[in-house]
């Protein structure tokens, strides 16, 4: 009988500890969930991103085959361009709260900062395009974008054409 009592005591104690443990785990999970919803940036490390620098011109010419998948570039306001050439396609890692710089061919620099991951999974990104030490073009732009979906900054004139800069945040892409 002593063995039976011993087993029962073990079972009861284990059940009690499991209940309290589950409660703690549940609270921890809830806190983690709350944290994730409020600001996942604190726990997100770095997210790969890609910047697509395209020189678009109205003169007839070639459309870079790599841009064919970006059907948005064939729609207004881009549909007036007859030629598009990829000038650079740098890949980088966006780290929360840390600026990532991309040099543009016109001497300006694009500064990208991952602010946070939104509750719906989209990325809140801050962007600025300026000459070094100046804020003469785009002082501030804040965008939310889902993974793999680009946002574009266009309008800079360069070599008789227009620069179209696309930014894609995509965890599936590997940064170089």
């Amino acid at each position: 009988m002593s063995l039976i009592r011993h087993l029962l005591v073990i079972a009861v104690l284990f059940g009690a500890s499991v209940s309290s443990g589950a409660s703690v785990a549940s609270r921890a999970s809830a806190q983690g969930s709350s944290l994730a919803r409020s600001d996942r940036a604190a726990t997100t490390s770095s997210v790969p991103a890609e910047v697509l620098v395209v020189l678009a011109k109205e003169e007839p010419g070639k459309i870079d085959p790599q841009l064919e998948k970006l059907t948005a570039l064939r729609r207004p306001p881009f549909n007036s361009f007859r030629s598009m050439k990829i000038l650079s396609r740098p890949k980088l890692k966006l780290t929360p709260g840390k600026d990532a710089l991309v040099s543009l061919p016109n001497g300006r620099r694009m500064k990208l900062t991952l602010l946070r991951v939104m509750p719906d999974g989209r990325y809140k990104v801050k962007a600025a395009i300026n000459r070094p030490g100046k804020s003469d073009y785009l002082p501030l732009l804040q965008v939310v974008a889902s993974a793999g979906d680009p946002f574009f900054v266009a309008g800079q004139t360069y070599q008789g054409g227009t620069l179209v800069v696309g930014v894609i945040v995509d965890p599936k892409k590997s940064a170089q």
């Binding site: 029962l8 059940g15 999970s29 881009f78 999974g121 732009l141 889902s146 979906d149 266009a154 004139t157």
Partner: protein, 176 residues
């Protein structure tokens, strides 16, 4: 014998009128110098009166003649053997000590396993749960065009998602 009587017993017998006259006189003399004894007697007297009152009330409500007639009838009635219905004996099972331990051990193990499963489910990291469907596309939250003029467009992407386009007019800048 009488010397063995305690004071309480003597007092009780005095109250009930069971003491010899000389003993009753001695108790009466003792009570003159004993307020506690006198108070005890008053308490017993109060109880006795209360019981007499209740008994008188019950006696007034009771038809004692009818009650005794019914008792006499029941006593004189012929005895009838009581036939008890055959009761089905519960199935008894002899459980040897070793088997009993195994049974309780199994119960404890089952309980522990259930608790472990409960803990595993409750503490399962949220990251293993499929996230809510994310919103596709990109959108501008805030834009500061500085001294330039700009326009924000929405362009439809390949999957029908809305993509943000920020168009800023500027004068071409040369290389620094």
């Amino acid at each position: 014998m009488e010397s063995a009587k305690t004071e309480d017993e003597k007092l009780q017998m005095f109250f009930d009128g069971e003491l010899a006259p000389e003993e009753a006189a001695a108790v009466r003399r003792d009570l003159e110098g004993s307020p506690q004894g006198a108070a005890q007697l008053r308490e017993w007297e109060r109880l006795r009166e209360a019981m007499k009152s209740v008994s008188a009330d019950w006696a007034g409500e009771l038809d004692s003649d009818a009650l005794f007639a019914r008792i006499d009838a029941d006593i004189n009635a012929p005895a009838v053997p009581i036939e008890r219905p055959a009761q089905e004996q519960p199935a008894l099972r002899v459980v040897p000590g070793g088997r009993e331990r195994r049974v309780w051990g199994g119960v404890a193990t089952g309980f522990a396993a259930a608790a472990a499963i409960f803990l595993a489910v409750m503490a399962w990291p949220e990251s293993h749960i499929d996230p809510a469907p994310t919103t596709r596309g990109s959108e501008v939250l805030e834009a500061d065009f500085g001294s330039n003029t700009g326009t924000i467009f929405e362009v439809e992407g390949g999957a029908g998602e809305s993509l943000a386009v920020v168009w800023i007019d500027d004068e071409e800048v040369g290389l620094p």
